[in-house]
């Protein structure tokens, strides 16, 4: 029962984040919303695992947490440098976007 309440809160947050991702207006707003959606997915996995008493879902949650961060940084690097390989400007080499 208490997990159902928490899942309800996370679902509301998920819907609001999807609304912001659709509304934009800039790509950075959509990326912020995508990050929030990913975090909501992790929490939904954990809470659903507890509610159905299948805590194996937590392993998927850990994987998703790591992938979420890598995905966000990759897209941001693409925004900053226009490429995912190496920095185009040698003066800014090694600087993380």
């Amino acid at each position: 029962m208490m997990f159902a309440v928490a899942i309800l809160g996370v679902l509301v947050a998920l819907v609001l984040a999807v609304a912001r991702a659709l509304a934009g207006p800039t790509a950075f707003d959509r990326l912020l919303a995508a990050n929030a959606i990913g975090t909501s997915a992790i929490l939904l996995l954990a809470l659903l695992g507890f509610m159905t008493e299948r805590p194996e879902f937590l392993d998927i949650g850990i994987t998703y947490a790591l992938l979420n961060m890598i995905g966000t940084l990759a897209v941001l690097k693409f925004f900053r440098y226009g490429a995912l390989g190496h920095a185009q400007d040698p003066d800014r080499d090694g600087e993380l976007g």
Binding site: A13, L16, A36, N68, L73, G82
Partner: protein, 183 residues
């Protein structure tokens, strides 16, 4: 004892879900990108912390609790990094925060133009090294050429931003208007 743990866990889960939803509400309510990041950090720290705390109390001292702690530590470590990178990329692409100037109007401007005593410059877009930079440079050039005489009409707190937070003003140069206001 078990009943007490259940009570504390239920309270933590309920308040965690509430805080998490409040953060997502701020994501829709705030007027510009940087304040939206500020709102989301609420759910990324306190919301997740309370939810995971409630689940750890239910799990007891098991491997499940350890995995939950790993999840919350990963999110607490990576969330600020992602937010910082997002803010830097947005500044690099030419976005400026929405600030209140001396007349109480909301303007998208560099903070050092409003508060020169800070003495800190935001990261300005340097050369046209990326596509986004080139686009924003061209956009600002077009704005300077058109020489808009419009002032900040309809951009106050009580009109545009309240009803429609996504409303953007017509073409104008915030720094130019700011200089007019000071003189």
């Amino acid at each position: 004892m078990e009943f007490a743990i259940d009570i504390v866990s239920a309270i933590a889960l309920a308040t965690g879900g509430f805080v998490y939803a409040v953060g997502a509400f701020g994501l829709n309510r705030m007027p510009d990108l940087f304040s939206r990041m500020h709102a989301v950090s609420v759910s990324d720290t306190l919301g997740i912390g309370l939810l995971i705390f409630g689940m750890v109390l239910q799990a007891g001292a098991t491997l499940i609790a350890a995995k939950l702690v790993i999840i919350v530590l990963v999110i607490w470590a990576t969330g600020p990094v992602a937010t910082h990178a997002l803010a830097r990329a947005a500044l690099h692409a030419g976005h400026k925060p929405l600030l209140v100037d001396g007349d109480g109007n909301l303007v998208e401007t560099d903070p050092v133009d409003l508060f020169p005593e800070l003495g800190v410059r935001l990261a300005t877009p340097t050369t046209s090294e990326t596509l986004i930079d080139a686009d924003s440079d061209q956009a600002s050039d077009r704005q300077e050429e058109s020489e808009p005489e419009e002032t900040l009409v309809g951009y106050g707190l009580d009109e545009g931003s309240e009803t429609n937070p996504d409303a953007r003003p017509p073409e104008q140069d915030p720094e130019r208007d700011d200089e007019e206001d000071r003189s």
